[in-house]
Amino acid sequence: MFDRLDFSFQAGDFVCLTGKNGSGKSTFLRFLAGFIHPEQGELAYRRADDMFSEIVPDDFLLSGHQNGLKPGMTLRENADFFVRLMTGTPASSSILENATEIFSMAALLDEPVQYFSSGQRHRAALMRFALVDRQIWLMDEPTVGLDADNRAALASLITGHTARGGIVVAATHDPLGVPGVTLDMDAFQPAGLALEEAWL
């Protein structure tokens, strides 16, 4: 899909993917998460113990265009299942409390998600980053539909994570107000060309 894409991230990086519509930001995030396999080239990952290894899904959290919430369940039930799914243990109440506070969701905790407005849903989806401890966060357009207060909350969540040595890769059209590297997807060879060579 991409040609001549050669880069590396390291602990503490905040990478902001920018680029025109259709430049491949979403595709790139799904590629990082291991859903899409590269046609050529490889993705390597160096652990703390200095060994290169393949990507291990345990180290990622991804929030995409969909929010991954079950409309019929309350926010609390959704969050609890998410934690169980990712760690095998139930969500401790302190973690849950902390996560709800960030995007001020406390009042909505026991409401079924189907009654949320679009922004509330999106905030509920972003709570995952505070619920589970993973090193690499992949965020696709995290600011969509957020009001000003919540954008600020998002920015400080990201800053906190990178300060602790986490990596955040976010595709966005809105400046997040977090200092970091910007990767402009427009600069890379567009999709389809790698394939073309083999076929034409």
Partner: protein, 244 residues
């Protein structure tokens, strides 16, 4: 093996084979149809209607054979991610469906004089019907997934799961004692059929094979061109503004 991964190579190979295959097909059909309808004796039991067999039995063999070709292509596509294998599966499926339909139709037409009914729910007949459905499902899956590559791989998985049906077709007559007669040509202890009937049967089978090869190569070339076009269109769509 990866020599054929290159579509251009494949096209060249196909162009080399095609004239020979077309010639063989014409000759075999001429000889097969002539011996089947004029130069072979009527059966002492079935009379003239035995001639349906020369159309029917080889078609039934082809139906199973092509499914195996499709399964092998699917396996190759899934395991080695061979791009042409996907197209090969796609190219064979309609042919397989066609031969299956031919076997079903001729069988039904034959069934009316022989068994007194067009259709019975005999093990052999029903498993061929299932084979037909599998072909349809394979083609429907190719049609309905948006991304070509994905569609092909999904259809390949289905094709492999469906292989379970082939032994059922082959051995159903032995397992269930039913109306349909057991194999008399393709069997371990050699054919049990009279030579005068065996010859047209084998000629027709060879003619079908030649037909399969010809149409298969044509369809492959078509698929390759279609694929090229799609890739070119995609490339154009994603070309950066002002790059050319």
């Amino acid at each position: 093996m990866h020599r054929f991964a290159n579509p251009a190579q494949f096209n060249r190979l196909a162009d080399a084979i095609l004239p020979w295959a077309i010639g063989a097909m014409v000759l075999l059909f001429a000889a097969g149809l002539y011996t089947a309808f004029f130069a072979s004796p009527p059966d002492y039991q079935q009379g003239e209607s035995v001639r349906v067999m020369y159309i029917h039995a080889p078609a039934a063999w082809m139906a199973m054979f092509i499914y195996m070709v499709m399964a092998v292509a699917s396996f190759t596509a899934l395991v080695w991610r061979h791009p042409l294998a996907l197209l090969a599966g796609r190219a064979t499926a309609p042919l397989g469906a066609m031969f299956t339909a031919l076997a079903l139709l001729t069988g039904m037409l034959w069934g009316k004089p022989m068994w007194g009914t067009y259709w019975v729910w005999d093990g052999r007949l029903t498993s061929v019907l299932i084979l037909f459905f599998l072909y349809l499902g394979y083609m429907a899956l190719w049609q309905s997934v948006e991304d070509e590559e994905k569609a092909g791989r999904a259809a390949s998985i289905l094709a492999l799961v469906g292989v379970v049906n082939i032994p059922i077709i082959k051995f159903s007559v032995d397992w269930w004692s039913t109306l349909h007669q057991p194999a008399s040509v393709i069997r371990l202890d050699g054919p049990t059929i009279d030579g005068s009937m065996l010859l047209p049967l084998l000629l027709m089978a060879a003619a079908y094979q030649a037909y399969f090869i010809v149409v298969f190569l044509w369809r492959m070339k078509l698929e390759i061109n279609r694929r090229k076009l799609a890739v070119a269109r995609q490339a154009m769509m994603h070309a950066p503004v002002g790059a050319e």
